[in-house]
């Protein structure tokens, strides 16, 4: 056997390089976890459309990437990406965390106003200090066997946000995490791959609002250069705790955004997960929620606005493991030009999960004859006393409504805009945090104004 190296996947190769140079950073268990993750990834590799879960979503270009990770020597330039369109109301205290290519940027972040007992810190700090608290949680909700991109993230992550809110904390904490891709230059060139890793742990009755915003700064890089943003978020939601999570993807058309969000919800706990996707060549969101305590619930609420040749793919999975939990799922896609949408919604109701109450709906508005939507509900119900419904529609703007509005003097463009906003309105209105509703509105306007 000669040239073994040649047959190694670029990611495996890169991993070997990093391992060789990695001083004993982080505790031993993380190094073990990374190696196991790399092995798990290598077994599957970058998935191809032959994989059932990747049928419409072709990420094979990632196989040919020349990988540049940011490191300590990187010269940082956050660029315009650091100016977020999300401006909070003045009466709201917000902790701000900026990550550049998956690395914490202390000078751009502001963590000073965390309430007593609440910890919002870079994950790298917690790991470096070797605090044991992570070991039981990290990788426990998002497991490396599940998903090649979770494995990839686990093998390579450098940093991210760790939020810990102790039981009984009475204040609601708002954390705005801004991730900017392509913001670091190192000896190897502009960083083009990152694996931010977030872990949120909410104790009993804790309440947290997190906004994860993904933008990019790749002006000036050759247009055939591609980027991979590969975030993973894990949330451990304790009894009666509430997590309100917003994820916004507005990266450039050179970015493959392949993300996973994984939550485990204890009794009477609740997750509101809002997704707004606008940017990226490809946005793939895997979102899995396990309801493991009775009385728990989740609302998954998504808005995808795609144009050009963008592809936006949501794979959701809700596991009802116990009785008396409620899940709600509302996804809307607005597709222009030659863009594509994919929705796959799995709901598993385990035998013990009696009195499960589940609603899933997925609607797509197709504004151009070349845009395409693939939608697939997948309900597997093994309990008999449950109420689960699902519905999916794919349609165009209704000509009767358009004519009605125009006949009242509203010009064609304004009428179209009204109807597109109307289509998205229930999803937008469900977002409790006002700046997100404003942003969603302007994203819809932008796609129509083009």
């Amino acid at each position: 056997m000669t040239h073994v190296q040649d047959t190694l996947h670029p990611f495996a190769l890169r991993f070997e390089e990093l391992e060789a140079n990695r001083s004993a950073d982080g505790p031993e268990w993380t190094r073990r976890l990374r190696r196991a993750a790399m092995a798990a990834f290598s077994e599957v590799g970058i998935p191809t459309p032959k994989h059932e879960e990747w049928k419409y979503t072709d990420v094979r270009e990632l196989d040919r990437m020349t990988l540049v990770h940011a490191d300590e020597t990187s010269v940082l330039d956050a660029g315009p990406g650091s100016v977020s369109p999300l401006q909070a109301g003045s009466d709201e205290t917000i902790l701000r965390v900026v990550l550049l290519d998956g690395r914490f940027a202390p000078t751009l972040s502001d963590l000073s106003s965390a309430p007593a007992g609440v910890r919002v810190e870079p994950l790298s700090v917690v790991l470096r200090e070797g605090r044991a608290e992570l070991e039981s949680h990290l990788g426990s909700v998002a497991t490396i066997e599940d998903h090649p991109f979770v494995a990839l993230n686990t093998a390579f992550f450098q940093d991210g946000v760790h939020i810990f809110v102790p039981a009984g904390c009475k204040e609601r904490v708002t954390v705005h995490v801004v991730h900017i891709a392509g913001a670091s230059d190192s000896s190897g060139g502009r960083a083009n791959v990152s694996h931010p890793r977030n872990l949120y742990v909410l104790g009993e009755s804790a309440e947290v609002r997190v906004i994860e915003e993904y933008s990019s700064h790749d002006e000036g890089s050759p247009s055939d250069r591609i980027f991979l943003t590969n975030p993973v978020t894990e949330a451990v939601i304790g009894p009666n705790a509430r997590l309100e999570l917003y994820k916004v993807a507005r990266e450039s058309s050179q970015v493959f955004h392949v993300a996973g969000t994984f939550a485990r919800i204890d009794r009477d706990g609740h997750l509101d997960a809002h997704n707004v996707s606008q940017g990226g060549r490809l946005v793939r969101n895997d979102l899995r929620v396990e309801l493991v305590g009775s009385g728990g619930g989740c609302v998954l609420n998504g808005l995808n606005v795609a144009n050009g040749r963008q592809l936006m793919d949501d794979h959701t999975e809700i596991v009802h493991a116990v009785a008396h939990c409620a899940s709600r799922e509302y996804y809307r896609s607005v597709l222009s030009d030659e863009s594509q949408g994919v929705f796959n919604g799995k709901v598993f109701v385990r035998p013990d999960a009696q009195k499960t109450d589940g609603i899933q709906s997925n609607n797509a508005l197709v504004l151009s004859p070349k845009a395409l939507m693939n939608t697939k509900p997948q309900l597997e119900i093994y309990a008999d006393d449950v109420k689960c419904t699902h519905g999916a529609t794919i349609g165009q703007l209704d000509p009767d409504s358009l004519f009605y509005l125009r006949s009242r003097g509203i010009d064609a463009e304004a009428a179209r805009r009204m109807l597109v906003h109307a289509f998205a309105s229930d999803v937008v209105d469900r977002m409790a945090w006002e700046p997100m509703r404003v942003l969603a509105g302007s994203i819809l306007d932008e796609t129509l104004g083009r």
């Binding site: 209704d398 000509p399 009767d400 409504s401 004519f403 009605y404 509005l405 125009r406 006949s407 009242r408 003097g409 509203i410 010009d411 064609a412 304004a414 009428a415 009204m418 109807l419 906003h421 109307a422 289509f423 998205a424 309105s425 229930d426």
Partner: protein, 254 residues
Amino acid sequence: MLEIKNLHVQADGNEILKGLSLHVGAGEVHAIMGPNGSGKSTLANVLAGREEYEVTDGSVEFLGKDLLELEPEERAHLGVFLAFQYPVEIPGVNNTYFLKAALNSMRKERGESELDAVDFLKLVREKLKVLHMEESLLSRPVNEGFSGGEKKRNEVFQMAVLEPKLAILDETDSGLDIDALKDVAAGVNALRSPDRGFLVVTHYQRLLDYIVPDFVHVLYKGQIVKSGGKELALELEAKGYSWVEEQALAAESK
């Protein structure tokens, strides 16, 4: 104000209007009656600018302009209003928001300043009263979940707010109970003025007791086959459409 000459209209390759002519002068109320499928709604929709109807011959002049050249919104700005036979439900579009956008687009065209929220609400409340409509309807999505009667009232309410020059009412009375009918008629009558014309499509003479027309026309197979004063409606009611049909057939065979 409205001059329709020899109008021929097709949809899906079928000729629906076959040489229709009609003159509506300012201040006049014209009732159009006719059996199902005779082309009444087609006429109303063509005047409002519905694109799926193809005008193959003839002309429509409104206030000196070639109406057929204009987009639906331009016609509305010029003063054309259609109260739809079947008003569409538009979930997600708030009634107030919609109506304010509509009114302000009209005002902008007329060179008037946009109404602010307070003035708009004042105007709207006044009109609601005439139609005995609940203010809560304003905060609901356009027509969504409205009863048949509420939808028809809402059409007349919009008309009252937008104050058109030519109001076309397509069976606004159909399916209404007597109270709703009176409200609708009151809404229309409040707008009657020497510079405004009305085209009232109806199946029922009952409406014409409340909105008294100057002229009554019978539309049959895409043509106006008979015109007269308000007594024609009574005659129609007594004798039925078969009477007109026979006359039309007799005329054809001549």
